[in-house]
Symmetry: C2
Subunit: 529 residues, 2 copies
């Protein structure tokens, strides 16, 4: 059977290819439904020992090989004597594998499978690119326009469906907690560790996991993936009712290894080591550093890694940290931060739209939208959040808030999508801040200029475009979501009449080079049209 | 003639009282029209030598005495052989005086006059009070709600009338330049120093003054006074077309002494040593300090003194500086500034409402109003400014902008007046910031609480009122200029439903003490009404 045929293979074909080969008879099933595609998941399910404590006692690794490359991937115990190894192939063609295990039943299993091209909408994992930006593995542009649904991964099916419906089409990343948060009547129904006793006397068994909890989380991660949403997986957080924020060091590390082994093959996973790490008073900075290094070492794919603070900003220059994930809205410091860290900056909490009594949770939609634009023209990214008071009566009574995986109730999401559309249309490789711009602006020198006027409303402005190219101009109204293409074309210092209201933007995009020598500053539409 | 009769005396009566007494025959007239009142002006006009250079050659001082007090007041030469001494009496009753001069004709003149009670609307000069606030000399409250009309003092009558009409009722202070600014077709018509030659070869004679220029300025100061507006007189500034920002040191000092001698008797004068002093590159910090000390030494009344910066904040802790006059809108630094300076803080430029292309000149009215509220709840004060592009056709073509003494065109002034009315009604002795308040608030502990929510919009909030008093509450809508008194009364932690829109405020005012021992936190209207 040649490689071409393998590439065409359906799931059934792949299974039949695998079944007759040597030790492959031991493979119970290939859990991946349908064909294995590039940046999809090949899952090896194996029967193994269930005595003792398999979570601790049994080691399992598979080596996946294609031509000159071999990738070592750790497996994990999923309960009931079942072991799994999940692998995300990043190249098409045939991959073969061999297992190594401390358990004889799991050791030396071999096989191969064909990796088909990525299907529509599968652009691979996101990684950093162009110093301060992001990109999908297939080279297509990715600009994070994220939100925050902390409890999504362990929400009830009903709440998760509502939450996902709210995210769909509006956001392409969400911050989600892997460990549960207390949710009152809304869950969680499952816990990650076996727990015994009641109330104050309850104890957690940190030597075992509850596979059902992690299967739920995985289901949710795949739901996000299906909606085109990166799962910014928060590994630790301070919102704890069970003691998980004060696990012993060994338990922390054990948990991290298990999580990475289970989730890393999902292409839409990002690792956020913690939310508000500095509020987890039981941990010290060396602990956080260690978590980073464990995640980095265990993850065969190098998914994005960051950590989110409350008051004390982590040193994002550390080599294991791929980008900054800040809680602040002091966007004016972005230039200094870029200088210090040389990495993309995501302002992952910029306060929430809402109406609760806490300062962080009651922005008007207008202010939320404004902050997205400010982040953008500072050459950085932002995440949305929302928290309205729970309704006390009616069909939505006592529903969780958006940030805990509830209904989207605010007005900013649609306006944020407008900005996302503008960026996707005009600025596919990311905007860099022009630090000496008189009004805030970002873009790419000589090619693209996006000005955002914030609370300023000049009735006209002489835009200092270069005279080496000819530009088209689009007025942007962030709140009305209106794009107005200006008549004519522009080069050099170009006077444009502006709408005379605050919070407006304008974008200039190069349409042509100026032929021959630059002729000095040529004013706008009158001459160039 | 007893004191009572003197107090009743009309101008004519006062003149007749003065005329028969000794050397008083030499007094040509008492220029003050009508009676001399407390914090009014008694003006002594004397004929003296006109040969040589009287500005330089002749010294003239009058000592005004009432009971145990004697105030030394310098006179000045007003041209045409006329010398004047202006005195602002701060106490009712009879004052006598004696002149001392290097010119025999002006020396040893004596007389007396009666000072009547201040008339309606005359509350005396403003001074600092209660550490961080201001007060009129008669003890009535004064909170600066200022504006900026730089060219008012030397504007044409037409423009000045338009400007004054705009200020009247809206503002109680204006920043005005004593030295001229270039105004294109709009003046100035007069200059303070004799000038000869043309264009680049023109030179100023800094040994003489042009009295007509200063008489115009005085007329304007009195117009402001008549409208209840403090004249925040800017003594130096960088907007110069004649060389005045680079006069020799001796000329600077000569000018300051002349100005103080001429203007100090006007109760509504404040001294602003400079506007954007740090943009006057010809001067060094010791120069600015010296100007302060000259003004302080020459002014018998201790009018308010400050200095206004562009980039480099002056050390307002210096003893000759009575309050801070800042160009910034970083109100969050007010607490640190109060700590450092222990003086009132006026944010005298917080950018301008308008539509010009410069960043400082195109705020929307909403943002200007927001900044006033922010300054207020930071326990400080702010000044308005406005600059719209000049109209090119029509009845208002080529008029100066508001800031150069033109027409008021923006929308913020009326909204600022609303805040002024709130402060005048509820917070007569000034608001101090509650630095640990969860939302921005200011007031007086146990008596008055003003919260401003800025971009926050909690739908309700538990206000942490003390339980030692009972309060009434008023919702304030800064933009709609609406005061809504809430039903009931409040004490202790008090839950109030809020309008759910940003930029709202609420004020609580004590109406009664709680009798007996505090009974703990008692919730709002339900129980107390």
């Amino acid at each position: 059977m040649d490689r071409r045929e393998l590439l065409k293979g359906s799931a059934a074909a792949v299974a039949s290819i695998l079944s007759p080969v040597g030790a492959e008879a031991a493979v119970k099933s290939v859990a991946t439904a349908g064909k294995v595609e590039r940046w999809g998941v090949f899952e090896l399910e194996l029967n193994g020992p269930s005595h003792g404590n398999p979570f601790v006692d049994v080691t399992l690794t598979a080596h996946f090989t294609q031509e000159h490359r071999t990738v070592a991937v750790k497996g994990f115990y999923d309960g009931d004597g079942l072991y799994r190894v999940r692998f995300m192939p990043d190249a098409e063609g045939v991959w073969s594998y061999t297992t190594a295990s401390s358990a004889a039943e799991l050791n030396g299993k071999t096989g191969h499978f064909a990796c088909a091209p990525a299907s529509e909408g599968n652009r691979g994992p996101v990684t950093t690119a162009n110093r301060f930006h992001f990109i999908y593995a297939d080279g297509s542009p990715y600009s994070p326009f994220g939100t925050t649904t902390y409890s999504y991964l362990f929400a009830t099916d009903t709440n998760a469906a509502v939450s996902l419906e709210g995210m769909r089409g509006y956001f392409n990343k969400s911050r989600v907690c892997v460990l549960p948060k207390p949710l009152g009547n809304n869950g969680p129904e499952l816990l990650p560790f076996p727990r015994s006793g009641e109330g104050k006397d309850a104890t957690n068994d940190y030597t075992h996991f509850n596979p059902a909890y992690f299967r739920l989380v995985e289901k949710r991660i795949l739901e996000l993936q299906g909606a085109g949403i990166e799962a910014d997986c928060i590994l630790f957080h301070p919102y704890d009712a069970w003691g998980y924020k004060a696990m012993p060091n060994g338990a922390d590390d054990f948990y991290l290894r298990y999580v990475v082994a289970r989730f890393a093959a999902y292409r839409n996973v990002w690792w956020s080591i913690a939310n508000e790490y500095d509020l987890v008073k039981t941990k010290s900075m060396p602990d956080w550093d260690r978590y980073f290094r464990i995640v980095q070492a265990e993850d065969p794919y190098g998914h994005l890694r960051s950590i989110h603070h409350s008051q004390v900003i982590y040193d994002h220059s550390r080599p294991w940290c791929t980008h900054a994930s800040l809680q602040s809205w002091d966007f004016e410091k972005s230039a200094a931060r870029r200088e210090a860290w040389n990495k993309p900056i995501v302002y992952d909490e910029i306060q929430y739209e809402g109406d609760v009594d806490r300062r962080w949770g009651n922005l008007a939609a207008e202010e939320m939208v404004r902050r997205f634009w400010l982040a953008t023209v500072r050459g950085s990214y932002a995440s949305h959040g929302e928290v309205f008071r729970a309704e006390e009566t009616g069909p939505h009574a006592h529903e969780p808030s958006w940030s805990d995986a509830g209904r989207l109730r605010g007005d900013s999401a649609a306006k944020i999508r407008f900005l996302h559309e503008v960026i996707a249309k005009y600025a596919r490789t990311g905007l860099n801040e022009f630090e000496n711009s008189y009004y805030l602006s970002a873009g790419k020198e000589g090619e693209l200029y996006l000005w955002y006027f914030d609370y300023h409303r000049p009735s006209r402005y002489d835009f200092p475009l270069p005279n080496t190219a000819i530009f088209e101009a689009v007025l942007l109204d962030p709140w009305e979501r209106k794009e107005t293409k200006l008549q004519g074309s522009f080069t050099g210092k170009s006077r444009v009449d502006l709408p005379g209201k605050p919070y407006q933007a304008i974008l200039f995009r190069k349409t042509a080079e100026v032929k021959g020598k630059p002729t000095g500053q040529v004013a706008g539409p009158e001459v160039m049209d």
